[in-house]
Amino acid sequence: MDKMPAWADVVLIPLISLLLAAILSALVILAIGESPVEAFNLMVDGALMRSSGWGYTLYYATNFIFTGLAVAVAFHARMFNIGGEGQAMLGGLGVALMCLYVPWPHWSLAMLGSTLGAAAFGALWALIPAYLQAKRGSHIVITTIMFNFIAAALLNYLLIGVLKPKGSMEPASAKFDPAFALPTFQDMFASEGNPLFRGAPANVSFFLALLACLFVWLLIWRSRLGYEIRAYGWSQTGAKYAGISGTKIIIVSMLISGGLAGLMAVNTTQGEAERLILNMTEGAGFIGIAVALMGRNHPFGVLLAAILFGFLYQGGAELALWTNIPRELIVVIQALVILFTGALDNMVRMPLERLFLALRRKEG
């Protein structure tokens, strides 16, 4: 029998982990002489109580959905894709090339183009480590980390060279055509008398992220390819027995993973910055690992976890703005959440499993 009911695994463990992280964060805030209650109110108020706050929270969440899904897909084949950051950077390059050099007639076509560009570039950046893993046995964790650095160096090189407009003094590409700007939530939902999402960066690519969730769910749990990916992930010898090619699974799942990571660039680069800038990933490539862990590698879990991390990002920014809590402490709080939900998963899981076993024994 499974040790715990499914709902405990999916709901209870993340909630308890979150609570522990919150308690520890509260202690840290107390220690520097601020009020945790006030800080929490401020975070909630800034991130969730106003539509503009939601506009920021969902903007960040969009990034995390893409990178979280990327990690989740690779993980179903038991590969740890740490290269989301680099794949997203290359995705940014794909978006930039599509928006700078193709004269799209309408923003929607430009979005289609940049979606394809971002996915293709991200996928290709994942292809090289995937090939090395499948054919040469080079460990995917090592190679994807290294490829993050190569991607950063490449982006740097391009942004101080070919992509930088003449006479510009900053490492960024030229502005995209304003006609390609993606509709923000403000454009879509605000009206004369009802000024929703004012100034917030959340844009139509959030819906692209929701589509990506649906796509990953269909892929992993409904498709033949997903069946093979999961089988390979659980047992490589089993996959061999069934005639599933390991090389194919490694390469295809990494292509999909890299493509998903690349897609976050549609949100940040076409949706918000409207040009390619150096720090276009905002660290989302790494947050994606925590999001996938907390979301149990399920698209719906990833969606919820991404929104939670979006809240932490936006709430953290609010704290830094309105209190004496330094910016660094926000990072500490985020790190605590990652630590408890991801790395210390077993700390909560083991006692809970024992509890459920004891309960069941009592019933029996």
Partner: protein
């Protein structure tokens, strides 16, 4: 009256909701061999682990030689004179025999005095009990049978009076098993007490004085071996009457289905595992391959199942099969009508974390009947899985249960259901009843026979000689990557097959035990056998 060597009173142990041992009481008299028999999961190993201090009983008392004894850990067990020989040996591979024997029983900081003392007592034990092993040989260079002797020596060196052996013959050839029982007999004569845990009824009947039967955590009976029969023991184990003999009509072989010629397989380390094997299998017959594990049978199965490449010629229904090319994989074999029940159902035949219904299409998941474009027809697969599970009596018949939550026998039935229902022309069956309880064995054997009677060709590989002998219509014995010979099951016996399994095709009436041992050892080191 002498006190019993071991007396357990009211031992109970639960793991979560599972009651592994329920109020077990048992008395084992000194100087006897006491068998404990039961199906997988009956609680035999748990009981012995309690006796050896690995688990603590929830309730109950242990008496050793009449005195109540607490056994919180294995140190205490050793101090009480209990020695244990595990199914999977706990030896340091790159230590010598004598180093392994003193490990944990060194007398001081310097090793030399302990080693010379151990050497002396090893010699004494060897003479006394036919327990000869070269004290300076490295463990990794010893045959399995010899490694087992080292485990026994370890226990005796620690002054064990009570020896527990857990499934000791699972990894031995018949010749090695015979030798083991001679050793055990010598030990009994010296007044040692032996507990033999096994699922083989024959061993119980031949070698034990008393036998206890366990079922579902309970001790169902303790009887004198001379006053019982295999039928009665089987019934006590399973809880109902069991058909021990396989009931089958003579085979009616027809056309050749599979033809293998000069097949050679080299593993990833460059060692040739199958060295030129040739045979034919006809429709309507079971071709059994006997042999000690590791003599090339697994590799042979893997090549036939498309999991490995090889050289040579294999024709299936008259058409040659690609053995090395790009399209040589499990999928292409299935397309040719080859079904495969692999030797390792946990790692190969099933994905344990998949549900039963997901497993019922494993390997056939690309079939058009299960596909709707790139998606799988989950609803249809689940419905069909339920029907298959009913037909093959998988318990519980719940398609959404994960494979790992079924017992060994029911897991194997899921694999069989999948492969047999595809109606293959040739079925490869590897170790079909390994880790499977008696009740399920009966069912699995019947299914294999039924498939044969439908005119299918069957290749059976098993290390259980009984199984090979009762199912096969022709028996081949593999040794060192080659087929030593083919026999008609009606005209051979375990003794002859056992010698062939050790690579000796000589006169079966005068077995050369030394040659048997040397041959087995040579093969384990990857050397050429010395005797032929």
């Amino acid at each position: 009256m002498t006190a019993p060597a071991i007396e357990l009173k009211g031992i109970s142990k639960a793991f979560g909701p599972v009651q592994a041992n329920k109020d077990i009481s048992i008395r084992v008299m000194p100087g006897t061999i006491h068998g404990i028999i039961g199906e997988n999961g009956a609680g035999k190993s748990t009981l012995m682990s309690i006796l050896y201090g690995f688990y603590k009983a929830d309730r109950g008392e242990i008496f050793i030689n009449g005195t109540k004894t607490e056994i919180p850990d294995s140190q205490a067990a050793i101090a009480a004179g209990i020695g244990m020989v595990f199914q999977h040996f706990k030896l340091v591979e790159n230590f010598t025999v004598v180093e392994n024997v003193i490990l944990g029983a060194e007398d001081g900081a310097l090793l030399t005095p302990s080693i010379s003392k151990a050497r002396k007592s090893l010699k004494q034990l060897a003479d006394e009990y036919e327990l000869s092993v070269d004290p300076d040989a490295l463990i990794e260079n010893l045959s399995v049978g010899h490694q087992q002797r080292v485990e026994i020596l370890k226990a005796l060196y620690r002054q064990a009076d009570i020896l527990i052996l857990d499934e000791p013959t699972g990894v031995l050839t018949p010749a090695e098993a015979d030798h083991l029982f001679r050793i055990l007999d010598n030990l009994r004569k010296e007044g040692k007490t032996i507990i033999l845990i096994t699922h083989k009824l024959r061993e119980i009947m031949e070698y034990t004085d008393t036998v206890s039967v366990m079922r579902r955590g309970e001790m169902t009976a303790t009887v004198k071996t001379s006053e019982t029969s295999t039928e009665e023991l089987a019934e006590l184990m399973v809880g109902r009457k069991v058909l021990l003999r396989v009931d089958k009509q003579p085979a009616e072989p027809k056309q050749v289905v599979l033809s293998v010629k000069d097949l050679r397989v080299t593993d990833s380390a460059g060692v040739e595992r199958v060295k030129g094997v040739s045979f034919d299998i006809r429709a309507g017959e079971i071709y059994g391959i006997a042999g000690v594990a590791g003599n090339g049978q697994s590799e042979l199965m893997e090549v036939l199942g498309g999991m490995q490449s090889g050289t040579g010629t294999i024709t299936m229904n008259g058409e040659e099969i690609d053995l090395t090319g790009k399209f040589s994989d499990g999928q292409s074999r299935r397309a040719r009508g080859i079904g495969h029940v692999p030797e390792d159902r946990h790692d190969e035949g099933l994905i344990l974390d998949y549900t039963a219904w997901e497993n019922t299409i494993f390997g056939y998941h690309r079939d058009a009947e299960w596909s709707a474009g790139p998606l799988l027809k989950n609803a249809a697969i689940i419905e069909e899985a339920g029907a298959k599970m009913e037909r093959f009596d998988v318990r519980p018949p719940i398609p959404s249960l994960k494979a790992k939550n079924f017992s060994g026998g029911n897991q194997q039935k899921i694999v069989l259901a999948r492969e047999i229902e595809k109606n293959p022309d040739l079925l490869l069956v590897g170790q079909p009843t390994r880790g499977v309880d008696i009740g399920a064995i009966e069912f699995i054997h019947q299914e294999i026979i039924r498939l044969r009677d439908e005119g299918k060709a069957i290749l059976l590989v098993s290390v259980e000689l009984d199984e090979i002998m009762s199912l096969s219509d022709r028996i081949a014995v593999m040794f060192d990557g080659q087929i030593m010979g083919e026999r008609d099951p009606a005209q051979t016996d375990e003794r002859e097959l056992g010698l062939l399994m050790a690579g000796i095709a000589g006169e079966p009436d005068k077995p050369d035990w030394k040659a048997v041992e040397e041959n087995l050892e040579a093969v384990e080191h990857g050397e050429a056998p010395k005797h032929g």
